[in-house]
Each structure stands twice: as C-alpha cells, then as structure tokens.
C-alpha cells in the first residue's frame, strides 16, 4: 500500500524526467545524428525561444491568469529594434527602448485584469490582436533588415563556446526559480492563484502582484523578440505568431493548473524540454509537420491526464 503510494509520488515528481530520458534513449538508438553536439546545441537553441516565454507564462498561469499577447510583444520588440537599428541607434539603447515598450504592453494587460477587472483571456486576446496590428502598422507590413553585428550576437553569438540564446534561457530559468521559490513575491503568486480573496485579507497587495506578473511575462517576450530578430537578422511584424500556444503547452505539460495556485517552474522546464526533444526527434525521423502537430496535442492530453490521475489518487 505505502509502496504503491511512494511509486505514485515518484512518478509525479520524476515522470516528466523519465519521459525525457525515454525519448533520449530511444533516439540515440534510432538516429546517428541525435547525440551529436551539433544536434544537441540545435535542440537547446530551439527550446530557448519557447523556454523563456514559458517561464513568464508559468508565473501568469500560477496566478490563475493567461497571457495570449506574448507572441505580439515578440513582434513589436522585433520591429522597434529593427527600425531603431536602421536609423543607426546604438544596439543597447534600441534594446532598452523595446524593453520599455514591452513593459508598457504588460502593464496594460495587468491594469485591465487587476484594476479594471477584465478576464485575463479577454484582456490579453485583445492586446494580442492590437499588438499584432500595431507591429504591422508601425513597419508598414515590411520587415526591417538588421545588419548591426553587435546586436546579432544576441541570437547568433557564442559565449565560452555556448550559444548566447542558451545562456539567456538558463539565466531566465534560474531567475524564475529563485523568484518563485525563495521570495515573498513568489509566495504571493501562488496564494493569489489559490485564493485571491484570502490573499487580500492577509494583506497581500493582490492587484499590484497581478500587474507585475503580466509585466514579467512581457519582459520574457521582449527577450525572445531580441533573440529572434538577432537570429534571423530582421525585425518582422509577423514574428512570434502563435508562440503563446507553445508556452501554454509547456506549462500545462509541466503540471501547472490552469486555475492557478498549483504548479512549478521545474515542471515547466521539463515541459519545454520534452516539447523540444519531441520536435527534434520527429524532424530527424522525417515525420512531417502535420503529424507533429497531432503528436504535440496528444502529448498535452496525456500529460495533463496523468497529472490529474496522480493528484486525484489522494481520496
């Protein structure tokens, strides 16, 4: 009886890691390319985009919200940086300007949700559409070619032999873990998702925390916007489309409840790693992208189902 319970506990804690290991072992036997350093770096570079977005998304979803606008913020960041670089602005100043505008986007989301009382889905659906439109209007629908070599480092450069986007991913994950598990802000995020009224009566400034969570998510989107623009050497108004969905998928696979209050960033990290591994494996196996979508959807269903089962076992 107790042994069975322990098994459940182990499965819940390490289930995702086991899934990732199974994929790795399976692929290392079926593909010669999979375990090459080039491919591994490839995978990591691919997941850095979704991973950074998922870090911010986890915070948002833990409060019981959702942020659909991150893809649009990615595009806004790209076109603003692109246009400024084209005008000869220093890359650092251009990035900071984009950061400011991203944070404003996040603050608008947070304000609508926490202070005006919009449902997060509706608020961010609106800002997603507006944001995408803004990126198109601003750029007149055309991409800005980026040639500044210092800026391109963000997407294409290496530091100590490791691609910069991967380093940025690690930084964001570590910062996220520290904030979520070691700070009062992290606790407030969980408490608001679990019971906003009780959190408020306990003296938590719930509106402020909610607003900050959306700003945080936008900062993650800004980082991704820079990486993407630097990698493809252009600021595109169509960049980042439907990125929010992959970020939400990673969070859900990682076991975070869409109602908020329950979940973890380590889960999310496993989530986006598995998504990345799966995509790479299927590419190597020449499975076409239509089938890949189906597999991705099934993965979410299976992961969340197993999560419900292991948690529901209690009674």
């Amino acid at each position: 009886m107790t042994q069975k319970k322990d098994m459940g506990k182990i499965l819940r804690q390490f289930g995702l890691v086991i899934v990732a290991l199974i994929i790795i072992v399976f692929m290392s036997f079926t593909s010669d390319v999979f375990l090459t350093s080039q491919n591994i770096i490839n995978i990591l570079r691919q997941i850095s985009i979704n991973g950074i977005l998922a870090v911010g998304m986890t915070f948002v979803i833990l409060t019981g919200g959702i942020d659909l606008s991150v893809g649009s913020v990615v595009a806004i960041t790209g076109v603003i940086v692109g246009s400024l670089l084209k005008d000869g602005t220093n890359w650092f100043i251009a990035s900071l300007a984009a950061l400011a505008i991203s944070m404003v986007c996040g603050a608008i989301n947070g304000w609508l949700i926490a202070y005006v009382g919009f449902q997060p889905f509706i608020a961010t659906l609106s800002t997603m559409t507006i944001g995408r439109g803004f990126a198109q209007v601003y750029s007149n629908g055309k991409p800005y070619i980026i040639s500044d070599p210092s800026f391109k480092v963000i997407g294409q450069g290496y530091f100590l032999g490791i691609p910069v986007p991967i380093i940025l991913l690690v930084i964001f994950c570590v910062l996220g873990l520290v904030v979520l598990s070691m700070t009062t802000f992290g606790r407030y995020v969980f408490a608001i998702g679990g019971n906003k009224s009780a959190a408020k009566l306990s003296g938590v400034r719930t509106q402020r925390v909610q607003l900050m969570v959306y700003v945080l998510s936008s900062i993650c989107a800004w980082m991704v916007g820079l990486i993407l623009a630097a990698r493809i050497s252009s600021g595109q108004p169509t960049a980042g489309e439907s990125y929010e969905m992959d970020a939400i998928a990673a969070t859900a696979i990682g076991g975070t409840s869409m109602n908020g209050g329950i979940g973890s960033l380590t889960g999310t990290i496993c989530g986006f790693v598995i998504l990345g591994l799966l995509q790479n494996s299927m590419n190597l196996m020449n499975i076409n992208s239509f089938w890949q979508q189906i597999v991705k959807g099934l993965l979410i269903i299976i992961a969340v189902f197993l999560d419900m089962r292991t948690k529901g076992k209690k009674n």
Binding site: T183, T184, R187, F190, G194, N195, K200, L201, S202, G203
Partner: protein, 502 residues
C-alpha cells in the same frame, strides 16, 4: 426483517490509505424521527454519511433501507432510493432560477423525447413547494439563485431535498449559516417532514438545538459507535462525555483579563446601503461581542475596518492615534487582523500548505527584503500551529486535508503570528466540534490576558453571552444598543435589539 427502522446502518468500517476512519459505526433511524448525530470533528460523521449516500464504498458492514440491504454506487442511486442529503457546503448554480435549481437534472420536458424544458410546469411545482412550507412570501420560483441570501439558499437546498419525496433526509449542520428567525422557519419545515414520516439525520454541534429538536441522539467518537440515547432521558453533560470521553466542565471560561485603555475606536463608520454611523470602542483585554441577525452588517463593518471592503466615511483611532486603512496590508501593519467566518472563501488558501498559509500574512517578520527566511518560517509556523494544538502530520500538509476545527486553528495561528493589538473573530466556532470550541474559547481568554482587544462576531447566543464582556447589537446596518453587565446576560434584551427594537 422489515422492522421499525427505515434506515439501518450497522458495523460500518472504512479506512483511507491505512488510516481507520470508521470502525463499527452504527445508525438506526425510525420513520418520522429526528435523529441527531453528534461527535467531535474527525469522529467520522461525514464519512458515515458519505457511505450511506454511496459517495464512498464501505470496507465492511451493511446498510439496510426499508428492510432491504442496499449498496449504492453513487449519490444518484441513493436519491432514487429515497435518501437525500443537504450538505454543509452549499453549491447552488448562481445564474439559474430557483425552480431550475430545485429540479436540476430531472427537468420536466415539454415534449417527450425532446430536450425542451417545460418552464411553466417547473415554476408551478416549485411554487407549490414554497407555499407548502410558507416560503412563498420571500422567494419566488423565477428568482435567480444569486439574488438569494445564504439563509434562503439553505432553505432552497432543503426544499430541493424534500422535493425528492425522500424517506430519509440527512442535514449536515443546517443552521450554521442561519439567524435565529430563519432557524425557526427551518424547524417548522422539519416538523412537517416528521409528520410525513420522513426520518431525518441531523448533524449538529449545537447542543441547544439537539435538545429542542431531536428524538434520539447517536454519538460517534474516533469512528466508533458510542451509543444511542433518547434525548428526553439525556443530559447535556452526559452527551458531552460521550463525545469527548472525558469530563468537561460546562460553560465558558471567564475572561479574567484586566481591561486597559481603549485600543481601537471607530467613529461614524458608513458605507452607503450597507451600514451607517457605526461607532464603537474596544479596550485592551476586552472581548467585545457583536450580536445581530445574519445580514445586520456586522461582518461588513469589520471587513471595511481592515480595508477589505471600501468605506464611504468614518475614522479609525488606534491607541488614540488617527490612522487610515486602505488595504488589509495597512491593517496588518497596524496589528489589526481578522479571522474570517468563511475559511474557504477568505481565510485560507486551501490548495497550499499549512506553513505557507501561516506565513502569508507575516513576511515582514519572516523575510529579509524580498527573500523568505525559510528556517525561521518553518520554526515559527511550527511553533504557532503547535500552540493552537493543530492536529496534523506536519506543516507541509495541505490545508485542504484538515478538518474544519483544525483549519480554524491554522487561521488563528496566522493571525497570532501578526502580534495583533486588535483581533477580529467572525463566527470563531462555526462548524467546529465541542472539544475544539472549548479550546478556542480558552485561546481567546488567553489572548485577552495578553492585552489583546478581541472583537467577536457571533450568531450563537450562549457563546455571545458566555464569552463577551460587552455586547454591541446591530440591526439593519446600525448599532441598536450597547449592553454591559446584567443586560449583556439577557438573551431577551439582545434579541429584542437585534430585531430592531429599542
């Protein structure tokens, strides 16, 4: 053996993952009797009910309904067989009308086989039921559930149960959210049910009610059947002894604390349409009782005081200094804390751990800058929950796994860690068993002796009279009177004021 009992449950055993919850529980209900089921929290009352209703499966024992052994697979089966239950936690669907809610899941169809609901018929049937129980003057079938107050929702749950023509109705703490007057209405309904030979299982922690209403009482302790006695032949002490298994002196602990200076004073508190011109003072070491009917505005004043609800006008003086509170955060900083009546809604984050709930309000002590001091947090959360004698495996348990009484202790631990100067306790013992009640009363007196000013909102008259040094009575959003000494001992005076009299 179709005999005198309509429902007979014997030798019921149940354990959850190795922990025995019920062992030889027994309950036999005669038709037309009101059978009280008593026992401390965690004695297994709810589990027994859930087994009878088919929500849990039993490990051993048998349930006999009308002479036939039954084995329900779900609550639906039990309902169909004639057992319905009114849960302590109400779950209406707010956007539905009263009639739709009563007949949820068994709507009358307009045409056989087609999914069109005959609303007229539903409304007519509901109206009949409301009329039968004299509720039609307050409630109409077309009202939305969200427009009813808690008491009316409770009434509707009972009407719903009645509408199933059940042979046995289980009522779990039906009066916990009712005011005295509404309780009378409930008792009237109960009387007419008895006349129809319905057996009623009545779970309650209120001794007065049991003596007033019940024919027989069964007592459970630690999952075991202790005995069944006729109320007419039982005494209060006897029942308490059966429940706790030890001698417990009746009555309330006397607040021996010396009354100090005025700690908190409210001047002309007004929130339009909710309460107006409320003035009150509370001294150090004093327990101030707030009496009134449900909806008199007592909780609302307190929620506005701590900054949870908005306030239109009014002034707050803490130890003589004027302060402003715009958010509960300000209140906590001024050491004014509130333990809400609604643990689930306002008191606790149920899906998180005991530790996290206790520390949530107290990071000014438990963190350096933004960083939580985890060791200190563990130590303090452990210390304060121990102080409250919370029954738990450890402070990492989820709060949702605790019983009501223990959840309340977690709320108190959280409040006390904030070192309150003023502690507001809204219905501190609602839904809590006798043993835990006594513990909470003793905690209150202990706190008063430390010089804490306590404001206690309570709808239980004996508790108000027994615990309060002074009583303020509210009615219709206004303070109707302030009673001290002998006056504060008179139930009649208090009720008169609560009903709006002078």
């Amino acid at each position: 053996m179709a005999g005198k009992y309509v429902l007979e449950a014997t030798g019921i055993a149940k354990s959850f993952s190795g922990v025995t919850v019920l062992d030889g529980a027994e309950l036999c209900i005669e038709p037309g009797e009101l059978h009280a089921l008593m026992g401390e929290n965690g004695a297994g009352k709810s589990t027994l009910m859930k087994i009878i209703m088919g929500i849990y499966t039993k490990d051993a024992g048998k349930v006999v309904l009308d002479g036939k052994e039954v084995e329900f697979k779900s609550a639906r089966d039990a309902l169909d067989a004639g057992i319905s239950m009114i849960h302590q936690e109400l779950s209406p669907i707010p956007e539905m009308t009263v009639a739709e809610n009563v007949f949820l899941g068994r709507e009358q169809k307009k045409f056989k086989g087609l999914p069109f609901v005959d609303k007229k018929e539903l409304n007519r049937k509901t109206q009949e039921l409301l009329k039968e129980y004299d509720l039609d003057q307050f409630i109409s079938p077309t009202m939305k559930m969200k427009d009813l107050n808690i008491a009316q929702i409770q009434m509707m749950e009972i009407i719903k149960a009645v509408s199933y023509n059940s042979k046995v109705i289980i009522m779990d703490e039906p009066t916990s959210s009712l005011s005295e007057k509404e309780t009378e209405t409930l008792f009237r309904i109960i009387d007419s049910l008895r006349k129809k030979n319905v057996g009623i299982i009545y779970i309650s922690h209120r001794m007065e009610e049991v003596f007033q209403l019940a024919d027989r009482v069964s007592v459970l302790r630690d999952g075991q059947f202790i005995g069944c006695v006729k109320v007419a032949e039982a005494s209060r002490e006897q029942l308490i002894n059966m429940m706790v298994g030890r001698e417990l002196e009746g009555g309330y602990p006397h607040n021996t604390a010396k009354k100090g200076d005025v700690v908190l004073e409210l001047k002309d508190f007004t929130r339009k349409g909710v309460f107006e011109n409320v003035n009150l003072k509370v001294h150090a070491g004093e327990i101030l009782g707030m009496a009134g009917l449900v909806g008199a505005g007592r909780s609302e004043v307190m929620k506005a005081l701590v900054g949870y609800d908005p306030l239109d006008s009014g002034e707050i003086y803490l130890e003589g200094q004027k302060i402003t509170i715009k958010h509960p955060n300000d209140a906590v900083k001024h050491h004014i804390v509130m333990a809400s009546e609604d643990r689930k809604e306002l008191g606790l984050v149920l899906c998180r751990s005991i530790k996290e709930n206790v520390s949530l309000q107290n990071f000014d002590k438990l963190s350096k800058g933004s960083f939580i001091q985890k060791l200190k947090e563990r130590k303090m959360a452990g210390e304060y929950t121990e102080k409250m004698a919370t029954k738990m495996n450890g402070i990492d348990d989820l709060v949702s796994s605790l019983s009501g009484g223990n959840q309340q202790k977690v709320v108190l631990a959280k409040c006390l860690l904030s070192e309150p100067k003023v502690l507001i306790m809204d219905e501190p013992t609602r839904g809590i068993d006798v043993g835990a009640k006594a513990a909470i009363y003793n905690i209150m007196v202990g706190l008063a002796n430390q010089g804490i000013a306590i404001i206690m909102i309570s709808s239980e008259m004996p508790e108000l009279i027994g615990m309060s040094d002074r009583i303020i009575v509210m009615s219709g959003g206004q303070v109707k009177g302030e009673l001290e000494g002998a006056e504060a001992q008179s139930q009649q005076t208090i009720m008169n004021l609560a009903f709006g009299g002078e």
